[in-house]
Symmetry: C2
Subunit: 116 residues, 2 copies
DNA sequence: TTCATACATTGATGACCGTCAATATTGGGG
DNA sequence: CCCCAATATTGACGGTCATCAATGTATGAA
């Protein structure tokens, strides 16, 4: 998938050999960092945890506002970030909004680390 | 490991059932978020990628400064963050500093996602 | 000891982020 | 149509972060 750098025969001087194309491209790295940015907040981790623990597979915002010590707008903000990161799915039914894990999304995030 | 919430028989009103203890505690979440904070930067992902791709298993700073479009102090700063997150190991030999992946660290980070 | 190299640290700056209060929007019920 | 409940959006504020230029530190060589 990645063209490996040419793997120089070792410069006679010392350290600092390859350079060439870095293993992970700049754009690719930026993209992958987005997922971890979404995961890099304690309250968002707790949100994911609560949604995952729910037996029904989904939680409405009021289920999520109480356990965290945060105001409702802040929780909504975090949920939006998780949705935009592709980790949560949002479905509005009546007045309520139900959030559920996107199937395989967490595994995919874990996969990024395995294939760095 | 976690005491599950009592799982109310469903309040007659509608939504908003459990509350109780959130699946992931506040302190625990804060701790786990630290690793993802370290991973939440494109340049740090690239650094990890380069170190991992190196056949010798380690890279000195000059190997890392060129591929990224960053100054040497900035690279040093990112490396420090990765070391403090427990992802990289630093060993100084002579004038050079060699960085290598901490064995199992990336897998452990991936494990956090699996056991949220 | 003096100099050059490799790397780390400091201080400053501009950008981004988490949080809240206030307000807007949407949907259901009377 | 009007009111209320649930959620989203906006604007503002304080804190953190990524980056760089300048400087400090340590190691090896002359």
């Amino acid at each position: 998938m990645n063209l490996l750098p040419v793997l120089e025969p070792a410069t006679d001087d010392a350290c600092c050999a390859p350079a060439g194309t870095p293993a992970l491209g700049a754009e690719e790295a930026k993209q992958k960092a987005l997922v971890f940015k979404a995961l890099a907040d304690p309250n968002r981790l707790r949100l994911l945890s609560i949604v995952k623990a729910e037996s029904s597979g989904e939680s409405c915002v009021c289920d999520l506002t109480d356990p965290l010590d945060l105001g409702q707008p802040t929780v909504s903000h975090h949920l939006k970030i998780l949705v935009e990161a592709g980790l949560l799915h949002r479905e509005k039914r009546g007045t309520w909004a139900y959030y559920s894990l996107v199937p395989g999304a967490l595994e995919e995030a874990a996969g990024i680390l395995a294939t760095l």
